[in-house]
Symmetry: C2
Subunit: 334 residues, 2 copies
DNA sequence: ATCGTTTATGACAACCTTGTCATAAAAGCA
DNA sequence: TGCTTTTATGACAAGGTTGTCATAAACGAT
């Protein structure tokens, strides 16, 4: 493997200049830069990450902490993050849970480029604070800038998305609408509920208290709650779940109760995770650009890494209502 | 952060001796070793991986190449590999696909501890050969020692597992059995089919040609094939799919065709991936110890890494038939 | 023309570990 | 005993990069 010195010789400059080119330092003439890059290309030079890390006391690791209960969401995010990391030359290190002392050790010994937090960890202020104290850039996915003082946030407008999907279902002729929220201690779960209620209100529908239930973002709670809803006398015509896992649970409960979807019951989810299309009928849901969020997260870290200073920013991405087979359009007799 | 030198001072030995202790070299008195470890503990010393990698020209990266079409299988394996890597002090680098030139570059520049291949890449001899030529240890998951000359194999007996689940269903009273195989170019897909046919034969059931179909290990092909099976005149009483994704597709097709599972149709899968319990009814399937396979894979690499030499071995793990709600036991009127 | 500032480049040390070689003590053997 | 071999430890260099400092040229302002 060629080193910086080989490239320097070939380009006729000092090895320090080559270093400058590859570490993105200033003060290299455009002409010199080109010559260096040409020489590097000819030799197929690759920077030695270990040496760089050793000297610069900064690794190329990105730590992804994913304690999200939905494996589909996690998996999708990982995939996006993975390819973005490959492009940026970062190593993706996965941690399944947030363990303060472990992370602290990791940060101190490895000096990672940054830490990406998935919900619900991304919403916990105590976590944010302890990471900021370590001076490591933090990207919070699915968290809002109004929570916590700093860090970088990447999010969608959960409130508006929930409003939209509810509105669409109302326009489809539904009025007996049940809603399964996530744990309300999580801000995005709360926002999804808020948006839903707002849509009901603006349509003049008063929410039935028994039909707004709190789940846990997983299949099991979705199944249990929907089973309860469907086995009682008065049934909703549609259940909106706050994520796709819970929606899958609703679907299961429907079949258990001998109801056909969407003929007897409509179901909607949230996330558009892979599971949405691996069940029958495919799920009406909110498409969240999870992969794009991952890519933005890594891009952000790349910028922060180059600038060598931490700041803060918030990126709001667009969502999309996906109408699929799990919801029925009721003919309104006008 | 303390270095090897700090530890050496505290323990009253040379830094080289400390290095010996941490890199597992021979020729350190037990007594000295203990003193070093004590000093290291007191200082909370951690080896600097970059420095080690730089000097030893060997990284602590494990490359996991997962081109498996079942995201659930991949995800589960990743999780197991991840925690095992953390224990062993390895970094897990994920690659979604096998790209010969990319991998070659990676091996040459990073000198990874080893490469873990998931199916179907693990079964392709050309891949194995090109990796062996690079001299990097290869762990093949779901591949058989009889394929290819070397490397390390971790697998289950697909033939026997398929035999067993088929036999269980026959004993449950089924005789109209359809089977969806994976792509027969993949050896484990072929074995699952073989085991199935063997079980039919040993029960004196002659397989219907139209009921043994080749799918692609994904939801879509499972759905399409089952839809075809179920919309024809003569229906099987059970469909055995070669993995859970395809079984989920069968379930969807059943609902589409207005059939109740398991009342009108039984379904069985293979893998016991998370999806098996996130559908309704939960899937009768073969539990594959995917996490254990991942852990074994990393353990193997750890051993190989310490010995600094590549050999070969094969580890066969146990499977288990999981009977769940998706299959019906037919009362036999004796 | 002179001086201060910015731009561009180089020389050299430092980062922390492992590899190589040297050396001394202990053990094995004739 | 005297010799070779094994065990145990240390001194020192090397690995490829970036940080620091020095220096020279180019530029701008007086």
């Amino acid at each position: 493997m060629p080193t910086i010195i080989d490239v320097a010789k070939r380009a006729g400059v000092s090895f320090k200049t080559v270093s400058r080119v590859f570490s993105g330092e200033d003060y290299v003439r455009e002409e010199t830069k080109m010559a260096v890059l040409k020489a590097a290309r000819e030799l197929d030079y690759k920077v030695n990450v270990s040496a760089r890390t050793l000297r610069a006391k900064r690794s190329n690791k990105v730590v992804l902490i994913g304690s999200n209960p939905s494996p589909n969401y996690r998996n999708l995010f990982q995939l996006g993050a993975l390819s973005a990391c490959q492009d940026a030359g970062f190593d993706l290190v996965l941690k399944s849970e947030f363990d303060e002392s472990e992370i602290q050790k990791l940060v101190l010994s490895d000096k990672p480029v940054g830490i990406v937090l998935l919900p619900p960890a991304s919403g916990e202020i105590s976590i944010l604070n302890s990471l900021e104290a370590l001076g490591v850039p933090v990207i919070r996915v699915g968290a809002y800038p109004e929570t916590g003082s700093g860090g970088y946030c990447i999010y969608i407008d959960d409130d508006a998305a929930s409003f939209d999907i509810t509105q669409v279902l109302i326009q489809a002729g539904h009025s007996a609408i049940a809603f399964l929220s996530g744990p309300l201690s999580q801000l995005h779960a709360q926002k999804r509920k808020d948006g839903h209620l707002r849509a009901l209100q603006s349509a003049g529908i008063s929410p039935k208290e028994d039909w707004v239930l709190e789940g846990n973002f997983d299949f099991k709670s979705g199944f249990a709650l929907a089973d309860k809803l469907l086995s009682s006398k008065e049934r909703p015509s549609v259940i909106i779940a706050s994520n796709d896992e819970m929606a899958a649970g609703c679907l299961a409960a429907a079949y258990k109760n001998n109801l056909r979807v969407p003929e007897d019951l409509s179901i909607a989810g949230f996330d558009d995770s892979p599971i949405a299309q691996v069940i029958y009928p495919p799920l009406t849901t909110i498409h969240q650009p999870v992969k794009e969020m991952a890519i933005e997260a890594i891009k952000l870290l790349d910028v922060v890494n180059r600038k060598k200073e931490t700041g803060n920013a918030a990126i709001k991405l667009d969502y999309e209502v996906k109408l699929r087979g799990s919801t029925k359009f009721i003919e309104t007799t006008t």
